[in-house]
Each structure stands twice: as structure tokens, then as C-alpha cells.
Symmetry: C3
Amino acid sequence: MKLLFAIVQDEDAGKVMSELNKNGFMVTKLASTGGFLKSGNTTLLMGIDEQYLKDVLAIIETHSKSRKQIVNASNSLSGGNIMMPITTEITVGGATVFIIDVEVYKKF
Amino acid sequence: MKLLFAIVQDEDAGKVMSELNKNGFMVTKLASTGGFLKSGNTTLLMGIDEQYLKDVLAIIETHSKSRKQIVNASNSLSGGNIMMPITTEITVGGATVFIIDVEVYKKF
Amino acid sequence: MKLLFAIVQDEDAGKVMSELNKNGFMVTKLASTGGFLKSGNTTLLMGIDEQYLKDVLAIIETHSKSRKQIVNASNSLSGGNIMMPITTEITVGGATVFIIDVEVYKKF
Ligand SMILES: Nc1ncnc2c1ncn2[C@@H]1O[C@@H]2COP(=O)(O)O[C@H]3[C@@H](O)[C@H](n4cnc5c(N)ncnc54)O[C@@H]3COP(=O)(O)O[C@H]2[C@H]1O
Ligand SMILES: Nc1ncnc2c1ncn2[C@@H]1O[C@@H]2COP(=O)(O)O[C@H]3[C@@H](O)[C@H](n4cnc5c(N)ncnc54)O[C@@H]3COP(=O)(O)O[C@H]2[C@H]1O
Ligand SMILES: Nc1ncnc2c1ncn2[C@@H]1O[C@@H]2COP(=O)(O)O[C@H]3[C@@H](O)[C@H](n4cnc5c(N)ncnc54)O[C@@H]3COP(=O)(O)O[C@H]2[C@H]1O
């Protein structure tokens, strides 16, 4: 048994979860926030039998998309008082996944 | 040191947590949602010394109950336009528990 | 690759996260609740390369503070009907950290 954590974008969470459920996999959703952009995202928690890991990863990869996001920042010019607004485009990935080993699995 | 994740029903979370605390165990609660029923549930996170795992599992099992839930779905008849409402009864378990090994434990 | 869970006080979460980001570390924030005090706190989730664990722990320790909190309770006198309000002062730690090993790490 493995425990998988996947951080996905809110826009993809519903589709990823319904595809997982359609394929017989259970998933628990936690509302989360990305530290850098400070915007909401979704952390999925899944207990999965080792033999299904490839299938689960394929479903997550298929249904989560990278998206570009414009970020506003400001920068002072030559250490002075003038703050210049800067916009940067960053790419937010489809999914960040961590799989860990489960020592004990119980269902009551 | 082990890290335990337990997904329990909202109706049992308060009782499970207070029984754990009464017995000297600390627990952190995360609000979560079940992927299938899309209803709120509770994910408990506990760092526990290995020697107390049996006690903690016993408390969780004692105070979380299985419950039946009616689920609405609809089905089209013979691929046609008529959607028939269907209700199914499913059983939601008391608790789903994953225990993982902790390599480093710190308290600051 | 390791997965770190850190439970910190809400008052420190913003500072801890921005210091982590400044140093190039990504972090995902989960809103959580402490089982004993039943007040909101923050659970940080971080996938970190093993070589940076010391740095990350130092940032968390530097920017999370222990704080005293007054707790109200009540106690009946000699098993009787009179309930006496009691206040106790407890110390809430800066951070409780669990680090676990990651078997598979993917970014899609
Ligand atoms: N210091 C920096 N400078 C420039 N760009 C930066 C940056 N820190 C982050 N980014 C970019 O901003 C995106 C959003 O990061 P955020 O922390 O809000 O949201 C993150 C975070 O919530 C989570 N995440 C990613 N890696 C993580 C890790 N190792 N540990 C914990 N959470 C992680 O997944 C979300 C998406 O991450 P992703 O890497 O796809 O996309 C990141 C990355 O492309
Ligand atoms: N391996 C795992 N990984 C991550 N989270 C897990 C998990 N196993 C259980 N959970 C979590 O525990 C909740 C209760 O699961 P349980 O199996 O007792 O009760 C389940 C099960 O009896 C039933 N169920 C789930 N998927 C089903 C399906 N495809 N067909 C029929 N019944 C299903 O619906 C109940 C509620 O499921 P829901 O997903 O809303 O909520 C689940 C989910 O949040
Ligand atoms: N092993 C563990 N597993 C999971 N989560 C853990 C944990 N250890 C700590 N936490 C989390 O960190 C928060 C702060 O814990 P700390 O031990 O610093 O500070 C604690 C402790 O000083 C005190 N405390 C907890 N249980 C107590 C008890 N039975 N009697 C007296 N004081 C207690 O109350 C403070 C707040 O506790 P609370 O539960 O509200 O909130 C806890 C809990 O959310």
C-alpha cells in the first residue's frame, strides 16, 4: 500500500477526481494554498495498492494541465524611491506528486 | 515515531479527537472532502510513538461508526432521452487509516 | 526526496512561508485545527531534496515562536453541583515537524 499526495490546480481537480473514481480509485481532497502565488489549489490524498500506481499516475498526468499565470511584482530602481510595477509570466505545472510507503493500512 | 492519517466522518471527528486528547494523544484536524460522495469529511493527522499505535487505533475504531448513505444517480433508458432517477444505498466506513514511518521528528 | 509536514501557528505561517520561498523552497499550505485548543493553525507540506533539510528546518525554527495561551476550563467541587471556572496557561510550540521518505516524486 502506498500513500500518494498530488498538488493539482483547482481547475483540474474535479476532472482528475472523477476520472480516478470512474476507474475505481478512492481519493480524498484537501483545500490548499500555494506558498508562492498564494492562490488556492487542491491537494489530493490517495491510498493506492502498489500495482495500480502506474494507472493512477497516468490518470493524473492526462487530466492536469500546465497553465501560464501573470504575476505582479514591483522593483525599486537603483535603490531609490521609485517603484516600478513589473509583470512576470510563470508556468504553474499540472501536478506535483509525492508517493510514500504505508506501513499499516486499516479500514474500520 | 509514526505519522498516522485517518479519514473519518464529520459526525465522529469531535468524539474521536476528544477521546484521543483525553488519553494524552495530540491530533491535528484537516477539513477534507470525499471524492465519490463529494461531501465533507475529516482527515486527522497524528504523530504517534510506535508503542502507542495499538491504543490509538483502538480509540479510532471504537468511536467511528459505519453509516449508510442514500446516493442519487440517474440513468438513461436504452441510450434514449429519458433519464430515470436511481437511488443506491452505500456504506461509508467509520475510518480509513494509513500509518507511515517518520525519519525525523522535531519540536521547536 | 523527503516530504515534510510542519504544524505552525497561524501568526507565524505567513512569515515562515515567505522566508522559505525567498530561499527557493516551495511550500503548500493546509488550513488545520489543533485537537486540544480547537483553534485554527497551519499545516505546511513541503517536498524537499535531502541536502536542503537542515536549511529548511533552520528557517522554520527561526520564524516560528512559542506562545502562551490562557485556556478556560471548569471543575466541579467535590463531585457536587458547583462548577468553578479555572484558567490554565499552556505553551503552544512554534512548530511540530515530521519528515518522511518519498519513494516516487513526479512533476507533470
Ligand atoms: N521562487 C520562485 N520563483 C519563481 N517561480 C516560482 C517560485 N516558486 C514557485 N514558482 C512558480 O510558481 C508556481 C506556483 O507555486 P505555488 O507555491 O503557488 O504553488 C505550488 C505549490 O503549492 C505546490 N508545490 C510544487 N512543488 C512543491 C514542493 N516541492 N513542495 C510543496 N509544494 C509544492 O504546487 C504548486 C504548483 O507548483 P509549480 O512548481 O507547478 O508552479 C510554481 C512555480 O512554477
Ligand atoms: N484509499 C483511499 N484513499 C483516499 N481516501 C480514501 C480511501 N479510502 C477511503 N477514503 C476516504 O474515506 C471516505 C470513506 O470511504 P469508505 O470506503 O468508507 O466509503 C466509500 C465507499 O463505500 C463508497 N464508494 C467510493 N467509491 C465508490 C465507487 N466507485 N462505487 C461505489 N461506492 C463507492 O462511497 C463511500 C464514500 O467515498 P468518498 O470517496 O466520498 O469518501 C471516502 C474518502 O474520502
Ligand atoms: N504529535 C502530534 N500529532 C499531531 N499534531 C500535533 C502533534 N503535536 C502537536 N501537534 C499540533 O501542533 C499544535 C501545537 O502543539 P504544541 O505541542 O506545540 O502545543 C500544545 C500543548 O502544549 C498543549 N496540549 C495539547 N494536549 C494537551 C493536554 N492533553 N494537556 C495539556 N496541554 C496539552 O496544547 C497545545 C495546543 O495543542 P493543539 O492540539 O490544539 O495543537 C497542536 C496540534 O495541532
